[in-house]
């Protein structure tokens, strides 16, 4: 018989043989310890499943193998090598001449539990043996379990779940037995699922570094407040900080092109154009990032319009596939809920993403020729997550400094 590497934990897929206590040719008796194996979670002794002689050791000390790998073969007293460690399965039906699949019960053993019976037993924390079976050969049927549940309704501690779990097309495999049954299952919709996959993949692909800079938005605020009423009247929406920041980012990306790129194997592909992705939250139902093509060619006013327009269309679900593709850098505007700083996840295959959080009035030290004083300034933190394969911290910091400088020193009134 084959002795296999056991599964030493639910998520464990491999194990290492640490030490053999027996060698080829040795006689062993049932339960005698053959070897020590371990994973990063547990160490365990492997006993002999029956009497016999060790005919071949397949895995050496120090070797790591997958769960289920044959470790050692023991010849039983009859001298044959049968497979003994495979869990009992249903007999595979042979196709008879009428070609139908046959019954699922063994002769002589208690039949296996069907999927619906297993699920109901798990959900209601029942013992299969305690339920009277009316199916042929002692098979426990769904109606047997349902009858049992109904007649023990007063004793039941868990509420029965709705009859049909997860009818949605879910690509992830179901667990062997559902373990937690008293929460509410909210299946991912398509956007959530896609977002989840992207986020995991992005973190796995890019070594993220978070780096932030404070910027004084006084210059921007001056221009914004001056034109606030007129802008609103002319255009029907408010002029926010975002288009100013977007333009500063575009200018800075021209000076720091390695952040407007993507990593391709051992190279960095520097993009000729700057296409800004702007993250838009869809009322807590998902996050999308439509793209403003050639954003560096647009004025602040044009950027404001584009941002307003694509955000509105994103929320209405009216964006076309083209409008999601081709972005080279992403802006994520998180300020509306007053947050300080956000370490955003890079929008692959880009190498940088800038989070703009709340811009708030703060007391700041103002340096002047006559000495230092305290003033009140609108301050915002711009936090970039960058891919450390593409650039280093100094480059990123210089980029952020450039944005800050532009925001603080550019003549923004000329831009509107």
């Amino acid at each position: 018989m084959n002795v296999l590497m056991p599964q030493l934990g639910e998520t464990v897929t491999q194990g290492t043989v640490v030490a053999w206590h027996k060698k080829e040719g040795d006689q062993v008796s049932k339960d005698e310890i053959l070897a020590d194996v371990e994973t990063d979670k547990a160490a365990v002794e492997i006993p002999a499943p029956a009497d016999g002689v060790i005919s071949s050791v397949q895995v050496q000390e120090g070797e790591t193998v997958d769960v289920g790998t044959v470790l050692v073969v023991i010849n039983g007293p009859e001298g044959s090598a049968e497979d003994s460690s495979v869990p009992a399965t249903d007999e595979q039906p042979k196709t008879d001449h009428s070609s139908e699949a046959s019954r699922s019960s063994h002769s002589g053993k208690r039949p296996s539990l069907s999927p619906v019976v297993r699920r109901l037993i798990a959900e209601h924390r029942l013992e299969a043996d305690a339920i009277p079976a009316s199916g042929r050969g002692g098979r426990l049927t769904r109606s047997d379990v349902m009858s049992f549940i109904e007649s023990h309704a007063a004793d039941a501690s868990a509420q029965p779940a709705e009859s049909a779990p997860a009818q949605a097309k879910s690509p992830a495999p179901q667990p062997a037995v559902p373990l937690f049954s008293d929460g509410d299952r909210v299946p991912f919709d398509r956007i959530r699922r896609v977002t989840a996959e992207h986020m995991v993949r992005s973190k796995a692909t890019s070594p993220h570094v978070l780096q932030a800079v404070e910027a004084d938005f006084s210059a921007v605020e001056f221009v914004r407040s001056q034109s606030r009423e007129r802008w609103r009247a002319d255009h029907g929406f408010s002029l926010t900080y975002l288009p100013f920041i977007a333009q500063a980012v575009c200018v800075a990306l021209r000076d720091f092109p390695r952040l407007n790129s993507n990593v391709d194997g051992d190279s960095l592909i520097l993009h000729k154009r700057i296409h800004l992705s702007v993250a838009v939250d869809l009322n807590f139902e998902g996050l999308v990032a439509p793209v403003i093509q050639n954003a560096d060619g647009l004025t602040v006013s044009e950027l404001a319009h584009r941002i307003h327009e694509i955000s509105a269309r994103a929320r209405e679900g009216k964006l076309s596939a083209d409008e999601f593709s081709g972005g080279t850098y992403t802006l994520s505007n998180n300020g509306s809920f007053g947050t300080l700083l956000t370490g955003a996840i890079i929008n692959q295959p880009q190498v940088g993403i800038l989070s703009i959080d709340a811009i708030k009035k703060r007391p700041m030290v103002i340096e002047g020729p006559a000495g230092d004083s305290i003033g009140i300034r609108p301050i915002g933190i711009l936090s970039q997550s960058f891919d450390h394969r593409a650039v280093d911290g100094a480059y990123s910091a210089a980029f952020l400094h450039k944005i800050k400088t532009l925001l603080e020193e550019k003549d923004w009134s000329a831009e509107l």
Partner: protein, 340 residues
């Protein structure tokens, strides 16, 4: 330079107006430049998969393209870049499709062998030999039913004359008197084998015509004027309700069957003989001998050369199509779903 063998082909030059002749020349030249560029891009590994070039066969495409009405239908094989182009499709969209880009005529979903532009009447390039002959007959039936006098023109090679669908389509078109013109471009080779070795008759299309009650028509496919005239006659017959025609146009491809094929199975003397009958220099010579200004021809050439450069640049700058278009347009409503 005059017209070429075999001796049954008439040598008198038809009477065609200068504008049309210039259009014929321009069209041939544009086709040549486009097809040559497709070859170059393939050698630079920008065109993937395979493509089947019609270098040397421009006179057939140009002759018919010029003689047709804008609302006529054309159907061609996978060797169809020229046939599609002459209907008015842009160079950029053809090069883009070969390179699998967003600006491609089919946005990269069909590729070189399936160039189609319904708005120009180019009803598809078909990659399975013979399939499009009955389809062309069906389009002709539709025109006949609707009474529009549109004609369907169907281009195929010598190899097609041996497949079942060819015979079914011809018989079908004749019995219903459909307005369809079947044009066989005999370039002497079905893929890698000489057509003469695998065909029971000497002239693969012309010698089958009478089996279907049609007149045999054999023309010099490298003589743009001869093609233009024969096309005009066949189109006119069809429009008047006199039924289909089968035309065999003798020509030759400069390259192999596809990009993978260097064409080594063709004897050198034969290749050289046909290269000397290249339709474009031949026509240029004819136009000059007819008194057309050399400068006019030079201008056509330089305009075309500039156009191909611009088109190549535009196509190269176009990005690959977004992946989600792979999941649309199985059905007429744009979706691809087979279930609820």
């Amino acid at each position: 330079m005059g017209s070429s063998d075999p001796s049954e082909i008439p040598t008198n030059i038809p009477n065609i107006d200068t504008d049309t002749r210039l259009k014929l020349y321009r069209t041939m030249y544009e086709c040549r430049v486009l097809e040559q560029r497709a070859y170059d891009l393939f050698m630079q590994n920008l065109v993937k998969g395979t493509s089947h070039l019609a270098l040397g066969q421009e006179a057939v495409a140009a002759g018919f393209g010029t003689a047709m009405r804008q609302d006529d239908y054309t159907f061609c094989t996978y060797r169809g870049h020229n046939h599609t182009y002459v209907r008015g499709v842009s160079m950029t969209s053809i090069l883009g499709e070969l390179m699998g880009r967003e600006c491609g005529l089919l946005r990269g979903k069909g590729g070189s062998m399936h160039l189609t532009s319904v708005e120009h009447g180019a009803m598809g390039s078909y990659a399975i030999i013979g399939a499009h002959l009955p389809v062309a007959a069906g389009a002709a039936w539709s025109a006949q039913y609707r009474g529009t006098e549109q004609v369907a023109v169907c281009f195929f090679g010598d190899g097609t004359t041996n497949i079942g669908a060819f015979h079914e389509a011809l018989n079908f078109a004749v019995i219903w008197k459909l307005p369809v013109v079947f044009v066989c471009e005999n370039n002497l080779y079905m893929e890698y084998t000489a057509i003469a070795d695998v065909t029971a008759v000497e002239r693969p299309a012309a010698d089958r015509a009478q089996a279907y009650g049609l007149e045999p028509i054999l023309i010099d496919g490298n003589d743009a004027d001869a093609v233009y005239e024969a096309a005009g006659a066949a189109l006119s017959r069809a429009r008047k309700g006199e039924g289909p025609s089968l035309i065999e146009a003798m020509t030759y491809r400069h390259g192999g069957h596809s990009r993978a094929d260097p064409g080594k199975y063709r004897p050198d003397e034969e290749v050289q003989e046909w290269l000397a009958k290249d339709p474009i220099p031949m026509y240029r010579g004819r136009l000059i001998s007819l008194g057309i200004d050399k400068e006019a021809l030079d201008a056509i050439e330089s305009e075309t050369n500039a156009a191909i450069e611009a088109a190549t640049e535009e196509a190269r700058n176009s990005p690959p199509p977004p992946v989600d278009i792979a999941h649309i347009d199985v059905w007429a409503d744009g979706s691809a779903s087979w279930r609820n």
